[in-house]
């Protein structure tokens, strides 16, 4: 997610083209119910990149087929998000960060986590000119306009840093041009993009949320509870096949990278092999639980509680969201 140099960069889609896209998607939506039992559309929350490598592997290696599901991976566009597709029933599963999912549930759309891949938080704050982000009270800090970064807002309030949040569409140009003092970044994505702009990064100017009591899990696969209740077995098989995909990816990083690059090229994503390799390594690393050192593929009740407490405390959630609410039980 959060690709900064991809399709979402700067571009201004023309009106005509947006209309065409809508028409096309409506057509899909119309066809879907005909093959509902076996067919499933999975929409990761961002354009193709190594963040979704496990799903590409599961599809390419036929794990989904073996699980009896005809999965199609459809990526979102800048104007048509993954959640929009879920809400409209065009996609049956998507990936979300835990905090995002909790926000959506709190807004009244019940979601079920059918597979948790991330075991660690990847968010960082990077500040300019070697300054410690914690010493920049009231600084202008870039945040994704599409709504990641809940933890950062909690942290800014809790630690009385009073950051001025500058919402940006999806890239780092504001930061590179010096228009903002710091920016949020994902350790597997924007962090490397910043390195790629020649920015010197050190422990001094990088704040890692996971090291400061904000280690909240991120990516997981979610379905609406409504769909889940009707397709429990399909959900279980999809999750199992996706998990196989991730495990295969961890064992075969080179081949996995090839598959990722295939998707990247097909979708004209503005990235490169070096960045995707770094992303794959980091995403796989984030899947290892800090305590057990293993890929656990489970939502941790303590992390759900931590996230809920933080977000309720900073009034980002109207009520506590529980572990049970998000899981199959």
């Amino acid at each position: 997610m959060h690709s900064s140099t991809n399709a979402f960069t700067h571009c201004r889609p023309g009106r005509r083209q947006a209309t065409r896209l809508c028409a096309l998607l409506l057509l899909f939506a119309a066809i879907l119910p005909l093959r509902a039992q076996e067919r499933m559309v999975f929409t990761p929350q961002w354009t193709p990149q190594a963040q979704f490598a496990g799903y590409y592997v599961a599809l390419e290696k036929g794990f989904y087929k073996e699980a009896g599901i005809d999965v199609e991976i459809v990526h979102p566009t800048s104007t048509y998000s993954a959640m929009t597709r879920i809400r409209k029933g065009e996609s049956q599963a998507t990936t979300l960060q835990l905090c995002q999912a909790m926000e959506i549930v709190s807004e009244g759309i019940p979601l079920v986590n059918i597979l948790q891949t991330s075991m660690n938080n990847a968010m960082v704050i990077v500040s300019r000119r070697g300054k410690n982000p914690l010493e920049q009270k009231g600084a202008r800090v870039g945040i994704w306009s599409v709504g990641f970064g809940q933890l950062a807002i909690c942290m800014s309030m809790k630690d009385h840093l009073d950051y001025e949040w500058i919402r940006f569409a999806s890239n780092l140009n504001l930061f590179v041009a010096g228009a903002i003092d710091a920016t949020l970044a994902m350790s597997y994505n924007e962090y490397y993009q910043l390195l790629q702009t020649g920015l010197p990064l050190s422990e001094e100017n990088v704040y890692r949320f996971c090291d400061h009591g904000y280690n909240v899990q991120e990516d997981g696969v979610y379905m609406t509870r409504e769909y889940y209740e009707k397709h429990r077995d399909q959900a279980r098989r999809f999750a199992e096949a996706s998990r196989r995909g991730w495990e295969w990816a961890a064992e075969h990083p080179e081949e996995t990278l090839e598959m990722v690059m295939g998707y990247v090229k097909k979708h004209h994503v503005a990235t490169n092999r070096v960045l995707q390799k770094l992303m794959l390594d980091e995403v796989l690393r984030l899947q290892l639980d800090r305590e057990s050192g293993k890929r656990e593929f489970r939502l941790r009740p303590d992390m759900v509680k931590l996230a809920s407490d933080l977000m309720v405390g900073s009034k980002m959630l109207r009520r506590q969201i529980t572990y049970e609410e998000l899981t199959e039980e």
Binding site: R12, P13, I166, N171, N173, L174, A177, G198, V274, L275
Partner: protein, 641 residues
Amino acid sequence: MKSPLHYFKKSLSTKLSLWIVIFTAVVLVTALGYMFNVSRHAIRQEAENHATEILENTTLRVNAILERVEVATNNTDWLISRHLEGPDSMFVYSRRILENNPDLNGCSIAFEPDYFKQKGRYFSAFSLRSNGEIHTTQEGNEHYEYFYMDWYQLCKLLDRPVWTEPFLDYNPEGIYSKDMIASYCKPIKDSDGKYIGTISVDLSLAWLSNTISAVKPYPNSYSIMIGQGGTFFVHPDSTKLFYHTIFTETLDHEDTALAALGHAMQRGEEGTRQLVIDGQESYVFYKPLGNTGWSVAIVCPESDIFGAFNRLSRAVTISVFAGLLLLLLICIQIITRELKPLRRLADQAGVIAKGNFDEALPESKRVDEIGQLSQSFSDMQRSLAGYIEELKQTTAQKASIENELKVASDIQMSMVPRIFPAFPNRPDIDLYASMTPAKEVGGDLYDFFVQDEHLYFCVGDVSGKGIPASLFMAVTRNLFRIVAQQGHTPEEIATQINLILSHDNEQNMFVTMFIGCVDLKTGHLDYCNCGHNVPLIDGQFMQIKYTNRPIGVWEEGEFCGESIDDIRERQLLIYTDGLSEAENPQKQLFGEQRLQELVAGALALNSEQVIKMLQDAVEHHRDGAAPNDDLTLLCLKLIKD
């Protein structure tokens, strides 16, 4: 097998040739090295000037167009600020900019959310040139929240006009076209100076890309352009465009030179750098593009710039090397040929050196140094043969003389008493004497004998050395025996010997003598010193009144004697000047003072020990030098019963 070094040492021609070649090589390498260095510098300078000029021209052209865009924007922006009451007029302004400026692709006049209450949250008047027509719309909506876009926010946050990083525009099919766009954005402010929106003008950069790509001063050179974030916006490898930055490779493997170039370009510097790009040594000439934050660079492989130079350098180096090798061979050949007679001469000389003096030398008609050497050698051979013959005769003669001298020496030594103790039956007489000639035979003498309880003794030194002195010594010694046995006093003995020796003494030889006679019963000593070194008694030089003249000088006149009452238990040492005047290699004399000190310290020794001690002292003083005079010593001590 012999080593090349051995051959080198042995062969004069090789040695000479190598020195010539080495010297020539040093001169050539220095001169060529200097020339190569200067040329290389000049070529580099030329390349730099060339590239700088091209970059200068390109940036001038680009800047002119960019400035036109900036001027066009500035010309509209005041109109907007003045007519904020009518939002719909923004569509007219946005359209008019495109109409007045055919270079421009699009123009947005966008406002803060909810700025115009009647227009709702989104208001951005957007005109786009497409297929020669200008389409104007309001472009903001919930899917396109323009106020989060860079082009909108950059100038707002920086509070100044800016150029955005170039980006790719959509084409109607939703696939990226190759058309690169950049926007010039300027904040719009109301009459209070408060920010209310952004005017953004889009410029297609296809021409820029083409202009920069076309810059190709060398066959394999290419041009690149990077943005503020280091992203490639112009690059010959199209897969890198927009997807790679100048730093991407450095994430995979460290490349500080490349990173440094990237940073310098990002800082808007202008200059030249030498680094390895894609495994190729290259020169990079870079220059910023106006105030866009973008930077253009020309990458020239070193082989392109220095290609002809390197080829020339190689050719020259090979020629020089080959030339030096040829020079070496020619030198060896010429010098070998010139030195051939010398070698023959050396061979012949070797034969002659083995003793074949009759070996004929090669004929030489040369008049140069070698010819002269040959002639001189021939002369030397002849003289050498004669000399050797002469030497043979002389050697034979010398051997005969040496043999005779040996016999003479034996005879002379047999003349003086040499068996000690001299009087085995007389324990009261402790006497020891020694005589060491400087040559085979000497001119010193000593003698002693006991007659009627009297001990007669003498020590003498004949003038001169060698055979004449030895003969004179023999005569003197015999005379002493004969005269002394007649019971004379020492002065009478001296007078009589003088009479005989000075008569018919045509050689004018003389002898210094110390003659003594001791009454063994009383220890009374009579003595006569005839010009001889003063003896020592108990380590002190004797007090002598009458030194007298040496014996044999002239007939007339008596010799005077003296006496000491009792010399029993007293040590008497008589010596010749071979002791006191013994010289070391530095010609320093042994000296009387040293003699006196030595003897004074040896009063407890017996006569033989005293003599041996003095002999050792003289030997030590001479320190290897040949004896310069005969050395005779006599020590006497009478012991009381």
